[in-house]
């Protein structure tokens, strides 16, 4: 990790400039993956991806496509830096988090170059705030190597059905067991806590099921402490896709519609509790 020591030279163009009329489009999405203090930002011409990792077993990404921004210019093919996510979110919400209709914070985000701090220009109601957040050397991220071709089971559910279930998960259980099967119980979430076991069954013909493609019965256990933070993303999303591959790795994709009706994605990968093999780096 190295911090910026160079002073910005005047007149040099920024490597990344992104503008948003409503900073909430970014802040709410970042909140959905905010379970660690630090995150890695990766910007390409497609947009920005913010990644957070936990315990080398779980990884979450928030994607904000370039189209969401009112202005998005990238001078290089890609830009990566590590940043304090807590500070970033605090700055984005510096005018408060209340969402009054009609008022929104405008954002202009500028990143000059490697080693430079991230500049945020925020404006609401004529008041301007400038934030400078130091960036750090990006850390190597785990490659979960989750391949769509190796997906064994996949279901797409309306988030509404899962929200309450996730919020009420028995946290005295160390694991969350997920069973996906072409036969009963089709899709089952189980916990094993102090009070006893609890099972949540979703039949494949439920109104909540948008898609059900299960080929083989799979039961996998994941550390509940890793998955519980995903509840935030679930709360924001309208749909969630749940996939497992042949190694039992779990992929959760949340489709989030922002205030303007634009779609963003948050994706979480988690490796199963048993036989934790080191994901290829």
């Amino acid at each position: 990790m190295s911090f910026s020591t160079q002073l910005p030279a005047s007149g040099e163009p920024y490597v990344l400039v992104a503008s948003l009329d409503n900073a909430r489009h970014l802040s709410s999405l970042l909140r959905a993956v905010h379970f660690q203090d630090h995150a890695t930002c990766f910007a390409t011409s497609n947009g920005i991806r913010v990644t957070v990792e936990d315990a080398k077993c779980m990884q979450a990404h928030a994607f904000i496509q370039a189209e969401i921004f009112q202005e998005f210019t990238l001078q290089e093919k890609s830009v990566t830096f590590r940043i304090n996510l807590s500070v970033l979110i605090d700055c984005l919400t510096i005018f408060g988090t209340g969402s009054l209709p009609g008022t929104s914070t405008a954002l202009r985000m500028c990143y000059r170059d490697y080693g430079y701090p991230l500049m945020l220009f925020l404006e609401e109601g004529g008041v301007v705030t400038v934030c400078k957040i130091n960036t750090q050397e990006p850390e190597e991220l785990l490659d979960f190597d989750f391949c769509s071709t190796k997906v064994i089971n996949k279901i797409i559910l309306q988030s509404e059905g899962l929200r309450e279930a996730f919020a009420e998960l028995d946290m005295t259980s160390e694991v969350l067991q997920i069973t996906m099967s072409p036969d009963k119980p089709y899709f089952r979430l189980s916990t094993f806590g102090n009070a006893g076991s609890a099972h949540l069954d979703y039949p494949k013909d439920s109104d909540l099921m948008e898609a059900f493609h299960c080929n083989k019965t799979q039961t996998n256990r994941y550390k509940i402490s890793l998955l519980k933070p995903c509840t935030k993303a679930l709360a924001l999303s309208s749909k969630v896709s749940i996939r497992t591959d042949d190694r039992g790795f779990l992929s959760l994709q949340y489709m989030i519609r922002n205030e303007d009706g634009q779609i963003c994605f948050v994706e979480c990968y988690c490796c199963p509790d048993e036989d934790i093999t080191e994901a290829g780096m």
Binding site: G161, E164, A165, E168, D170, N194, A195, G196, S197, A198, H199, L200, D201, Y202, P203, D205, S206, D207, L208
Partner: protein, 358 residues
């Protein structure tokens, strides 16, 4: 029930599913009896009688969010599986979703407070709303309240103030309810009892929601007060120990316990013996209330001051009567009348009601 104890006792019987709880000092007991008609399906299996208890917290965890439950849950299936040692609660929700909770339970002995509403000198019946509105005036932290019968059938409610508290620092709130607020009043004028407010409030909340008439039976201070809600498919009893009048004869009347009325347990009911022994222990010290916190200088019954000094040190906690040394523990009958599922002889009174219901 969770306001009373940490454990929920379940007993399926012919007259319905009984849910009970008792507090740790055994000075508050409540039972809810849901008649078979309350359920869509009520089936008793083997073995009978079967009693178990589960942790209140675990049970409540299943029904965590009431508003969303009302919206999403269609029906709830309750299965007691003795072979697997599991109480299964299955909620059938919207969209075909099924939530199954398998709770571990412990088999246990009968939990039954011995009380007899027929032997209560005073009783009155009121809509729960009237009393709920009355207790609203008392602070949430108030531990005990005194209920009294005044002239012309008026009922008063007053916060209980320990004598040793400085008169200057205490605020006394007293309110009177006129006879016409009640549906029926049959009280001994001048009578009064003091009991714990916390559990009573819990019952009032339920009573208001259920719209069932609330009847209060009480006798003399020291004998338990019984609150009853009587409905077609539900019968609720809350039995609270009441404060002994410190100025009166301190010999514990044992009336709370009615020990003398209890038949001896049959020899083969060894699991009941433990509870019975508790009762027997209290008999060994005649004249001394079974409350463990009762001070030892009983020889001076007339003087309230030295004993109350001791009480100062107890650090009374609202809602936990045992810290008040004058509360007697409710005696808990543990005996099965042979051939019957449950209940101690004094249940005779209640049996009449349930006969009407079934």
């Amino acid at each position: 029930l969770s306001r009373i104890g940490d454990e929920l006792y379940l007993e399926p019987t012919d007259s319905g599913l009984s849910l009970r709880s008792v507090n740790s000092s055994r000075s508050a007991f409540a039972s809810f009896l849901f008649a078979p008609l309350f359920f869509q399906l009520y089936q008793l299996g083997e073995p009978q009688p079967f009693r178990c208890k589960v942790l209140m917290k675990s049970f409540l965890g299943v029904f965590r969010s009431l508003p969303s439950l009302e919206k999403t849950v269609g029906k709830c299936l309750i299965l007691l599986k003795p072979s697997a040692n599991r109480l299964v609660l299955q909620l059938h929700c919207k969209y075909g979703v099924t939530k199954t909770h398998n709770l571990a339970f412990q088999e246990c002995e009968l939990l039954q407070a011995v009380f007899d509403t027929q032997r209560c000198a005073s009783s009155f019946c009121a809509p729960a709303r009237v009393l709920a509105e009355a207790v609203v005036h008392f602070p949430q932290t108030l531990a005990e309240v005194t209920l009294g019968a005044g002239p012309e059938g008026k009922i008063s409610l007053r916060n209980y103030v320990e004598d040793e508290m400085e008169p200057k620092k205490t605020m006394v709130t007293e309110l009177w309810l006129a006879e016409d607020e009640f549906q029926r009043v049959a009280v001994t004028p001048g009578s009064s009892i003091t009991f714990c407010l916390k559990e009573f409030r819990g019952l009032l909340t339920f009573a208001e929601a259920s719209n069932l008439p609330l009847t209060i039976h009480y006798d003399v201070p020291g004998r338990p007060v019984v609150f009853t809600l009587d409905g077609a498919v539900l019968e609720v009893h809350l039995v609270l120990a009441t404060l002994l009048d410190p100025k009166s004869d301190l010999q514990c009347p044992m009336a709370n316990g009615s020990v003398s009325h209890l038949p001896l347990p049959s020899d083969d009911l060894t699991d009941d013996l433990e509870s019975y022994m508790v009762a027997m222990e209290t008999e060994e010290e005649p004249g001394v209330p079974p409350s463990p916190t009762f001070p030892l200088h009983t020889p001076e019954p007339a003087q309230s001051d030295p004993e109350e000094e001791e009480e100062e040190k107890e650090g009374a906690v609202p809602g936990t009567p045992p810290h008040k040394k004058f509360f007697c523990s409710l005696f808990f009958g543990s005996v099965l009348t042979p051939g019957g599922p449950s209940l101690a002889p004094t249940q005779e009174v209640l049996a009449e009601d349930s006969d009407n219901d079934c």
